[in-house]
Symmetry: none
């Protein structure tokens, strides 16, 4: 049985209580074959363990058992939105992240500058991670093209990453990617996934062809690959649904994009974990919901660096006192998916969840890791239910029904 957002909206009420959602990206893991312990089990986390002892724990499926979530559905679920119904394209996410104003009808795609060899085969999907300044210069070369009466905007994001926005009538996002997600083959031809998308596919392919010409001498960034064609989904905001005044603290544009999609205000912050916790402290009085996002744990997992992921977790644990000392009414700690270092990528394993509030009905879990959370009072839950639990624990929900 599912409590939908419409129902939720009817029972939410504003109150002075505050909720902090700490998302440790890629939090869940798998055992290190050498020690039999996961990243969380290995890390020394006295503060998280202390919070687990005072709180209630569980394991959450972001989408459903076995399904590996991308970052977008992972976060949508944590924000309380059904991650399958509220799906959002990569292009839109990145565009919103860098504050590009999307008009109705605009189609955005995420681009990579990449390296191709003389035969046109991709040798590096990230063009050696060119510096952001170089990316910006190259974007200027491609920006402002007019193709079939469609205006093309190109903006840099970071390093090799950029966005393209196509503006003109009659465009549909239902086209395939040109990014093949692997090296050793050519970028794919972009194809329409239904009849309405023929124009978009044609325009996008012409853009790619022109980019190839313009970039011919720009090795290693001598080609582009595009993915995630999408349009603004106009989701209901967290203010509308939860009657919250929400703010986001994150260090990478895509998470700003996700936060903006649900109406959060983006707080300026630095790139370190300590910076982010400081930003929380400085803005604590101005909002009643904070999404604090730690990216480094996922990066370490993606790089297959078990020890670095352990260190990031320990770093978060140290910084945690900057959060607990503010005494929020509700603290949630979880992840948007697991990223076990042994897999070197996102995985389907459920993520540990910790919820602390004065009214959480604490369980016997005294450590914050996968095995301990298995016996926790939250049980095995759907991630989209976490936000409702946070709201309940913040006494921001009225009862349902007579």
């Amino acid at each position: 049985m599912d409590v939908d957002l419409k129902l939720l909206k009817e029972i939410t009420r504003p109150s002075p209580s505050k909720i902090v959602l700490l998302v440790i990206d890629g939090l869940g893991g798998l055992p290190n074959p050498k020690t039999g312990k996961t990243e969380l089990e290995t890390a020394n986390t006295p503060n998280l363990d202390g919070l687990a002892t005072k709180g209630i724990c569980g394991l959450a499926d972001l989408i459903s058992p076995g399904i590996t979530p991308g970052s977008a559905p992972g976060h949508m679920a944590l924000f309380g939105y059904d991650p399958v119904s509220f799906s959002v394209g990569r292009g839109v996410l990145e565009a919103i992240g860098i504050d590009f104003n999307l008009n109705p009808g605009d189609i955005a795609a995420r681009g990579n500058f990449c390296t191709v060899d003389e035969g046109g085969l991709i040798t590096d999907r990230r063009a050696g991670r060119i510096p952001t300044e170089k990316c910006t210069q190259l974007c200027q070369l491609l920006d402002g093209l007019l193709i079939d009466r469609v205006k093309v905007f190109v903006r840099s994001v970071r390093e090799h990453r950029f966005i393209v926005v196509f503006r003109g009538g009659g465009l549909s996002p239902l086209v395939s990617d040109s990014d093949p997600q692997q090296v050793g083959i050519s970028p794919k031809v972009i194809t329409a996934l239904n009849q309405d998308a023929e124009k978009m596919a044609g325009t996008a392919n012409k853009f790619v062809a022109q980019a190839k010409v313009v970039l011919a001498k720009e090795h290693p960034a001598n080609m582009v690959i595009l993915r995630g064609f999408s349009e603004h989904p106009n989701f209901p905001t967290m203010s509308e649904i939860y009657k919250l005044k929400p703010a986001a603290i994150a260090s990478y544009p895509m998470y700003w994009g996700l936060a903006k999609l649900v109406g959060m205000e983006i707080l300026e912050t630095g790139t370190s974990i300590e910076d982010e916790f400081l930003t929380l402290k400085e803005n604590y009085n101005s909002f009643d919901f904070f999404f604090l996002h730690v990216k480094q744990s996922d990066e370490a997992g993606e790089d297959g660096d078990f020890d670095r992921k352990v260190r990031v977790i320990e770093q978060v644990d140290k910084a945690l006192s900057g959060l607990t000392s503010l005494e929020p009414d509700v603290i949630v700690v979880s992840g948007d998916h697991s990223t076990p270092a042994v897999l070197g990528g996102h995985s389907w394993h459920p993520v540990p969840v910790l919820l602390y509030s004065k009214y959480c009905r604490r369980d016997k879990v005294m450590e914050f890791h996968e095995q301990a959370c298995l016996t926790g009072g939250l049980g095995r839950l759907q991630a989209k239910q976490i936000m409702i639990l946070a709201m309940a624990n913040a006494l921001k929900l009225t009862k349902f029904g007579a």
Copy 2:
């Protein structure tokens, strides 16, 4: 929240990894009143326990809590198909099982030869389990009738079991059974469950009437009872959805029918458990998914024979090394329902599930039985999610969403 097959299809990818699904029919049980232990708790199962120790366990509801599944929905769920949406009639199952080619519009029913007394009351629903040869002779007497321009095919299955297929225009499967599922009363009149099914009901009743005349002197097989009128449901295959090359190893036609419905290839095998595991070994290189079905456990449970069910489980445990020595990437052990000997029939109790893979995030369960599985890392899950988990653990799923 439900990930449907359409979504699943988008994220499945072929890979060389292999999955073996071992279905121990009627696996779950209830305690023997004398000992307080279930069949699985009583059986000596060092190999299953070893696999549980290396794997992750849980308890699965085939349909939903409290609902007792028939064999068809139980298996559909284990194959990853929603057992309510993908329902399939008994007639079709048995017809497909014996390789009868159903045409579009054909209606199949499962039949029993049975014994009726002089007053027409059923005294034995299985006619003393007549030998298959006798069944085949009797079917020949009934085969080929033409009733109201409907051609009637009658084919033997095994012992007292046969199928009838009605071929002609305008037939609907929405008719009631004539099999009353008990003795001491007459076979029921077949009735239309909606207006479109009047013709089918009329034809079927005429067939039953003629069969009664033809069989009058064939005691103990002097009557027929029919059930499960149904037509071919044309389900998407496991190859379409999962991009697998699946094979089935089972010793009874109905399970071949179930396997064929989802596009599995049926491997020839013997009738013993050892034969089946040998067939797995011999065909291991030719497929990437194996459904291995053990029927004897359910039969023992249905007969209320606790000790025999224990022995069957121990026999499977002994044979298990023939499976584990092949080192499949993923091994799943479960049942299509519980059949507690103390109930002498299928039951609603959730079935133990064991999943082993290198990436399963093992739990602390070290024995494979109902109580131990209760604390397992898979928690309480829907059986239809098991196949998705198997696919994930075989690294055959890409991530969902940006």
